[in-house]
Structures are given as structure tokens and as C-alpha cells.
Point group: C2
Chain length 419, copies 2
């Protein structure tokens, strides 16, 4: 399929800046992965006139229109009314949706009003996209050569609705299947990665190769189209293998969400536990490890030692090291990791210490000077980082945590700890 | 001023979903605070034809067009070329920008190419918006009754450019000044807040009142327009006082970024220190406290005790309590906070323990059952929470941390600890 997509988001809260348009981002990612071209995002408020203008524009320049928001009772089902009118569709009650709305009201204990039942009105002849994650159903229809797909706005509904309702619908439109794999890399910049691949990227047609940069990490997405899933995978897998060979230890996983997810999977496989000792990252490493559900199987705990006193008293970092080298130093990073391993009783421990800014520390270390360490039964390894002095505190902390997790996944995979 | 704004974002990375359009959110917030009506957001890729179409549309339906992105060398300064052509402006070199680009290249050690110097080309007769946060300058001009403002795309440049360059430019367009204050509330839902205010909100014209919900917190923004700043403040301040009286202890601050920021300011004022003991929040409380720069003056450290072993060994929670009540219990929350106070040597300590999901714990506690505690020199107080069982791990963790910080700000402000 070679379709052109416009994402039309309806919601005054977007125009007031109360929320970012993360629905459009999620949909764009998913549609790009399917090989569809998203050419326009448009946002309008809960205003029938401007919504109508936006629909009239979109139908001229796109052949798939995906709307988000404007389906609930507070906006009088604005999106549905405007789209139905624009494409000359009558609204009719969908019995299953009516039942579902009644059941939802009962389950949440909320009294239902006439407005709620109007949510069960859908354009005649459409495909109803059942909403198991909220009350308003989505729907899809084709008219005048344009596919219209309407989704609820809350990301907790829009995301699963896209994945479980829209992706199968779009696959059914296609003559073949589109499949992709994503390699995740750490330790190489996007421009360096792109430079190595540019020639083959330009030469490739099926599969295609697309690089992305993401908060200090890189992704390489390989996408293929074929009549069947087997054929698509047959096109993809040799290319994925080739790229894994080419980038070697820089690839930390394929189709995985994050470094910490990979680390926790490796720990689970090996029956090992982890703990953290954090200074500059201030709890971010522990927070990221516990973002993953099921973390309690492998994560024992962490110590955030923001003062020398806590480094000494809780982690047992010798006072001499703190006095001689300062808190931001390789010996202190090492002693922190070893102290965490002891105090928390974990198999491996990660530590961080550094200057996240905005100012230099008392020892005149520049902002961006960081040390991360891993303590293991076989010994401790320290990595020194110079992350540049642009004073972006959040970015420096994120990068530092990435590096600590990279040490863990290299250790657990039997790779060299040098990057 | 009663202007209509369109935000036009240029960038293929937005259409691929690599990033969310946070620039549009930030601009929308700032423009709404100025009393300007944002009616459209549009996103196009790095494609001259579609960018041109978007500009032709925008100039018909808005009288202020703010663009983000498409200014750098990698996209051939697409936005600037398209806008200059659309409004019939020649591009000329801006001497100061040329010097600045040379200096920037020198400071960052990057070699400069012809492309870099093209960034110093600006539409003839425009106001150059100096970029102190990156290399590409912004610019603003007025033509055919439309104000065009171009900003760089990276949020680390776009945000300060808006605040320090665009806001003053827009103020100069206005005949009066617009000023606003934002009350931050915790412990009340948006709908309950709105219900109490609906009648006066509808009756108010100047100042106006707008409620917002934000991740379990609420905001009330009061905005006034007047010929001078003094007159605007004279309209605002009595209303702000009245709302503070009305909502009492639920208001945690005016014009402040977050609960943790307020807590750290109160600690600094009183010369006290804080520490954390976290189970279900897994480091989030420490991470949020250390997101604020200058945290090291008041934050000593934290212990993430994800296992009973760490609760007992590091925090000194008595084994009998863990055996008798389970880890998710008021007595354990209390012992964790008191243990953190002891171990970290801080004046006050916050703790959290609960079930963040996705599943019930071994003691059959429902997801969303949480306890937070504060240990102080005068004793310890525990707050039990039942945050509902919709399995949204991140939301439950955020809310739990809010409640712990709320205990701290109430204690430090001499308010009742009951919510």
C-alpha cells in the first residue's frame, strides 16, 4: 500500500498546551513502522466549524484520515458528528456498544446520562472498533476513496486501540504484509551510524533501513514488505543479522524497549540480583529499573548518597578516599559500587558520581564529568565519562544512567566492559 | 490584543513520531497565558511543497504565524526560504548573526561549512531574534497584516527563545499588558474544583479564571489585562488572595513549578535537611527531589528498599513488623521513615510502601494500596492511600510521591497533616 495519512487531533486542551500531542507521536511511529507516509498533523479545538474545515482539507490531501479525541460526552461527540456529516453518513445506534457502555457504567459506578448513550451512535455501515479501555468506541469507514478512522483521545485508550484495532484494520487494507525489526544501539552517535550506512540505505528498496536518535541512544529500523509474513521475515532476518555483525557489541538488543529492560532480563535468566548507589543520578537509575514491572524479582534496592556523609555512613566509602580524590572520582565510584553490593546484598551493583550542574563542583570538576562503576563477584570496573558541558541537567543524568546500564549488560553478556 | 495564532511545526522527525511536538505545547501554554487564541497546530515534514501549502493556509486563517524547526543546515533552512518567498521578502546577511555563528563554531570546536553561514541569512527588514542557546537565529516580521515569527526546533533553544525573545515582541504588539498568576493545588480533583468555581468563572471577564488538571495535581490560572503592569496586578492580587482563602491548605503555592520545589524551598528557609526511604516509588521521590538544581543543599540521600531484606538490614525495619503486618502496611511505612532519618542523618524523612501493580502483593493487598509517612523530630505521621486499581503503574507511583511531598510541605508550613 502506498497511502498518505493525515492525523487530525481534536481537543482544546492541546491548543491550550495542557497536554502534548503524544497520540500523534504514537500513531506516527506505528504508521511509519507499517510503511505508511504520514504527511500532516493537524490540531483543532472543540470547535465544529474549524473541525469541519480541517476535515475538508484532509480529505483532499490524504487518503487515510485518523482522528483522535472529540468522541466523549463533554465535547458532544464533535468529531463523529463532523465526520459523519462531511461524508454523508447517518448515525445509528450500535447495540453492542450500548451494552458495553451500560456495563462500563456499572463497573465504574458512574451514573450514565443521555450523553453517554450517544457514544453508541456510529456512522451507518462502519466498522466499530471496540474500546476495551474506556467507554467511547472508535470506528472506521471508507467513503469517496478515503479511509476514516476515529479514535478516542486519552493516550491510555488511544494506544491500545491503535495496536489492537487499527493495525489489523490497516493490514486488511494492504495487499501484502509489512514487518519490521528495530535494533537498539548504545555507544555510537546517530551521525556516525548514519555515515556508515548511508550508501546501503540509499541503495536499499525492500527491506528499507531507517536510523533514529533517542535520548543518547540510537535505533535502526529494518522494514520489509512481502505477500506473506514468512516472506517478509525472510527478507528481514539476514539484514538484521548483518547489522548485528557490523555493529557488534554496540547493539544491545532487537525489538526491546530499553537498556534497563535488557539488563533485567539478563539478570532473570542468570538468577542474579542488582542494586544501585547513586550520587549525580539521584535515584534515576533505581527509578528506571523499577519502571519495569516485575523488577522486584531482580532489583534489591538502591542508595542515593547525595552527601559525603551518606557515602561514608551508609555505603562505607572510606573517608580518606573522599578527602584525597573528592566525591567525583574513579576511586569513589568504585567504593560506592562495592559498598552498595555489600549493604544491599546483591550480586552486582552499579554506581554513579559526577557533576550534573548547573555549576562546577568544589573540586573544580567541569559539568559533565561523570564516573560510573559496576561491582561484581569478579571485581569492579569504572568508566569515566566526559559528557560535555552544555548545562542540561536532565540529559546528563539520563546519559550517565545509560552508561551504567551499559556496563551491566556488557558484564552480563560476557562482553568487554570497555566501550 | 485579540489575535489568532497558528503554530506551524516543520520537521520530518515529528511525522515519523521520533519526538512529540512539545514545542507546540510549550508555545500554546505561553500564548494562552498571554491571552492569545491558538486555533491551529500544523505539522509538515521537511518538504518545501507541503510547507508552502501550510503557509498559504495559515496566512488566511491566522494573523500570527509562529513556526518551529526547519532553520538548520540539515534541512537547507527550509522554513526561512518558504516564508520569505511566501511574503515576498529578500534574504540578506545579518552581520551580528554571522559573528555569532563564527564564535559558536569556535566555542564548540565544530568545523563550519557554507551551510552554517546561510543561517545568518534573514528576511530583509525583519527583527532578528538572537539565539543565545544554539546557532540558528530566529526572526520576526510583519507583512500583509500577518505577524510571522520563526523559531528553532530543538526544545532547549525554542523554550528560551520564546520566553526571552517572543514574549517581549508580542508585548510590544499589544496595547496593554497581560499578566497572570497560577495557584497550584494538591488534594482536590479538577471536577470538584471546577464545580466550586463554575458560577464565578462564567461571570468573570477581567481577570479570567482557568482550571487545569496535571498528573494528579490541579492548577488555577488567573489572567488580567490592563494598560499597565501595576493595574493588571491590582486586578489579579485580590482574586489570588480570595482563592487562597477559599481553598486554604489545598493551595501549595503560587507561580511555583512543583510540590518538590516548594518542599526544598521551605527546607532551605528553615535550614533543615530531608531524606527518603522508598519501596513502591522505587527511587522516583529521590529522582524528583534531585531534578531541582541546588538540591544538594537540603537533600541528603535516599534508600530504595525493594526487598524486605533491605528494609530490615539498611533501614532497620524490625523483622517482627514485616512478618506481622507485611511490607505494605502503616507500621512498616512508619519504621521505614524513621529508619531513613536515622541512617541518613536528616531532619525529616519521607517513606513510601505500596502495591504499584500490575498484580496484588503476597498479602492480597489490592493494586493502589499505598502508605506514605513522614518522620520528624516531633514524631511520625502515616497517610494511607487507596488510589484505585486501574493498573497504571506510572500514575500510581507519581501520585504516591505527590502525597509524600504533600506531607512534607504541610509539616514545614505548620499545617495539619491530615488531607
Amino acid at each position: 500500500m502506498s497511502h498518505t495519512v493525515e492525523i487530525l487531533s481534536v481537543g482544546t486542551e492541546l491548543l491550550l498546551g495542557n497536554i502534548a500531542n503524544t497520540d500523534a507521536q504514537m500513531l506516527s511511529q506505528g504508521l511509519s513502522a507499517l510503511g505508511l507516509n504520514v504527511y500532516w498533523h493537524t490540531v483543532v479545538g472543540d470547535n465544529p466549524q474549524r473541525a469541519k474545515e480541517a476535515v475538508e482539507l484532509a480529505r483532499k490531501r490524504a487518503d487515510i484520515i485518523i482522528t483522535t479525541g472529540g468522541l466523549g460526552p463533554t465535547c458532544d461527540d464533535l468529531t463523529k458528528n463532523v465526520l459523519a456529516e462531511a461524508f454523508g453518513k447517518k448515525l445509528v445506534y450500535d447495540e453492542e456498544s450500548l451494552e458495553r457502555i451500560k456495563a462500563y457504567g456499572k463497573a465504574t459506578g458512574r451514573p450514565l446520562t443521555e450523553n453517554n448513550f450517544q457514544q453508541a451512535l456510529v456512522p451507518e455501515g462502519c466498522t466499530v472498533l471496540t474500546n476495551n479501555w474506556g467507554s467511547a468506541p472508535g470506528c472506521a469507514f471508507e467513503a469517496d476513496g478515503v479511509h476514516v478512522i476515529m479514535l478516542p483521545g486519552p493516550p491510555s485508550e488511544c494506544t491500545p486501540m491503535f495496536r489492537y484495532r487499527v493495525v489489523p484494520y490497516l493490514h486488511a487494507l494492504s495487499e501484502g504484509v509489512i514487518a519490521s525489526h528495530t535494533l537498539k544501539l548504545f555507544g555510537i552517535g546517530e551521525s556516525a551510524m548514519e555515515a556508515q550506512l548511508r550508501d546501503q540505505m540509499n541503495a536499499m528498496a525492500n527491506p528499507t533501513l531507517a536510523p533514529y536518535a533517542k535520548e543518547g541512544e540510537c535505533e535502526l529500523r529494518v522494514t520489509a514488505k512481502a505477500p506473506t509474513m514468512e516472506e517478509a521475515q525472510a527478507l528481514l532476518l539476514p539484514k538484521v543479522e548483518e547489522l548485528k555483525q557490523h555493529f557488534g557489541a554496540l547493539v544491545y538488543g532487537v525489538d526491546v524497549p530499553s537498556l534497563e529492560f535488557v539488563v533485567e532480563n539478563l539478570l532473570r535468566e542468570k538468577g542474579l540480583t542488582i542494586g544501585t548507589a547513586e550520587s549525580c543520578t539521584g535515584g534515576l537509575m533505581a527509578k528506571r529499573l523499577t519502571d519495569v514491572s516485575g523488577a522486584s524479582q531482580v532489583f534489591k534496592g538502591g542508595i542515593v548518597s547525595y552527601t559525603n556523609e551518606v557515602k561514608h555512613n551508609v555505603l562505607g566509602v572510606p573517608q580518606e578516599l573522599l578527602d584525597q580524590y573528592g566525591a567525583v572520582s574513579a576511586p569513589v565510584a568504585q567504593a560506592m559500587a562495592e559498598g552498595a553490593r555489600r549493604a544491599l546484598g546483591c550480586d552486582i551493583a552499579l554506581s554513579s558520581t559526577g557533576v550534573a550542574g548547573p555549576d562546577k563542583d568544589d573540586w573544580d570538576n567541569e559539568v559533565g564529568t561523570m564516573f560510573v562503576a559496576i561491582a561484581t563477584p569478579e571485581g569492579t570496573h569504572v568508566r569515566a565519562l566526559h559528557l560535555g558541558n552544555r548545562p542540561v541537567r536532565a540529559r546528563l543524568r539520563t546519559q550517565t544512567a545509560h552508561h551504567a546500564f551499559d556496563l551491566a549488560r556488557r558484564y552480563l553478556s560476557g562482553l568487554s566492559l570497555e566501550d
